[in-house]
C-alpha cells in the first residue's frame, strides 16, 4: 500500500499572515434529503456536531458539517476514520435515496492564519466578507481568483479554505500573493 499524501504535503508560507496547507483531512460528500432524521442523526454520530443551518458550518475540534446546498453537506473528520464513517452512513441510510462519497483525496484544505486573513480572502472573492455579514459559523461557496473554493472562519484571525486538489497549488500561491500585497484596511 502506498501512503496517502495531501495535495501540498503541508506546505506553509510564513509571513504576517501564514498560508498553510492543513495536511490530510477526511471529507465525505453526502447528498440526500437534509431534513431526514436518520441522515441528521448519522452526521451527528460521526462528527458530534449539531446539523448546520443553511449556509452555515458546525465545527468541532477536528470534525464538522458544512452546508453545501439544499441537498448536500460536507462531512469533515479525521482522515483515518472515513472508511468507517462511510459504512455508518451506508447502514443508516440503506434503502433511501442518498449518495455518500469519500472525497478526501480530491480536495485540499488550506488555512490562512493571521491578523488580516479576512482581507486576504476578500481581495480574491466576490463574496461579501464584511464582519457584519460574515463571521464565525458562516460558510460560503464561491470562487477565489479563477477557481471554485469554499471557506469559513475558524476564529477571528483564521480562515479555512477548501478547494479541489488539482488547483491547490494555484490557491496556495494566490493566497500568498494576496498576503504579500498586505492589508487594505477597509474592514
Amino acid at each position: 500500500m502506498s501512503d496517502p499524501i495531501s495535495a501540498l504535503q503541508g506546505r506553509s508560507t510564513a509571513g504576517e499572515v501564514t498560508i498553510r496547507e492543513a495536511g490530510l483531512c477526511g471529507m465525505i460528500t453526502l447528498r440526500g434529503e437534509l431534513s431526514n432524521a436518520k441522515l441528521r442523526a448519522v452526521c451527528k454520530k460521526i462528527t458530534g456536531q449539531a446539523f448546520p443551518e443553511k449556509a452555515k458550518i458546525a465545527l468541532g475540534e477536528d470534525r464538522g458539517i458544512a452546508w453545501m446546498s439544499p441537498d448536500e453537506v460536507l462531512v469533515m473528520l479525521p482522515y483515518a476514520e472515513v472508511t468507517d464513517a462511510l459504512a455508518q452512513i451506508d447502514s443508516a441510510l440503506a434503502g433511501q435515496h442518498y449518495l455518500a462519497e469519500n472525497v478526501s483525496d480530491a480536495r485540499a484544505l488550506i488555512h490562512v492564519e493571521g491578523g488580516f486573513a479576512r482581507e486576504i480572502l476578500a481581495k480574491l472573492t466576490p463574496a461579501d466578507l464584511h464582519p457584519a455579514t460574515f463571521g464565525t459559523g458562516d460558510f460560503r461557496r464561491s470562487h477565489l481568483g479563477q477557481v471554485a473554493a469554499a471557506f469559513w472562519m475558524v476564529d477571528a484571525d483564521t480562515f479555512a479554505v477548501v478547494c479541489f486538489r488539482s488547483v491547490a497549488d494555484y490557491v496556495h500561491d494566490l493566497l500568498v500573493a494576496s498576503a504579500k500585497a498586505g492589508p487594505v484596511g477597509v474592514f
Partner: protein, 109 residues
Amino acid sequence: MLTLHCPYCGTDADETDLHAGGQAHLKRYGPGSSDDQFEDYMFMRENPKGVHFERWRHVYGCGKWFLAARCTATLEVFGTYPAQTTEPPPDLRAKISAKRPGWTWGDFA
C-alpha cells in the same frame, strides 16, 4: 456588476459566481408537436427593452438553478425565485407592476 439573491442558499451572489441560462419559462415542445411549435420553442425568444425573466445557475455556490426578473434597460433586479414554478409568483408580478405599470412579457402581465 450584477448581484442576484440565490433563493436556495440565501446568499447574494455576484455575477461571476453565476452562470446565465437564457430565457425563463420556456415551454418545451418535443415529439408529437408541430413544426411551428418546435421552431418556437427552439429558436424564438423574447428580446424586451424592460422587464425580462431569465434562468441563472448559482454555479460557484450551491449549484442550483433559479429564476430572476430584471429590467434590461436599467439592470434593476426586481427579484429572484425558485425554478420549480411555471410562472412568476404573484407578489413579484405586483412589485414589477408598481415599478413598470402596464408591463407585458410573453403571456404574462
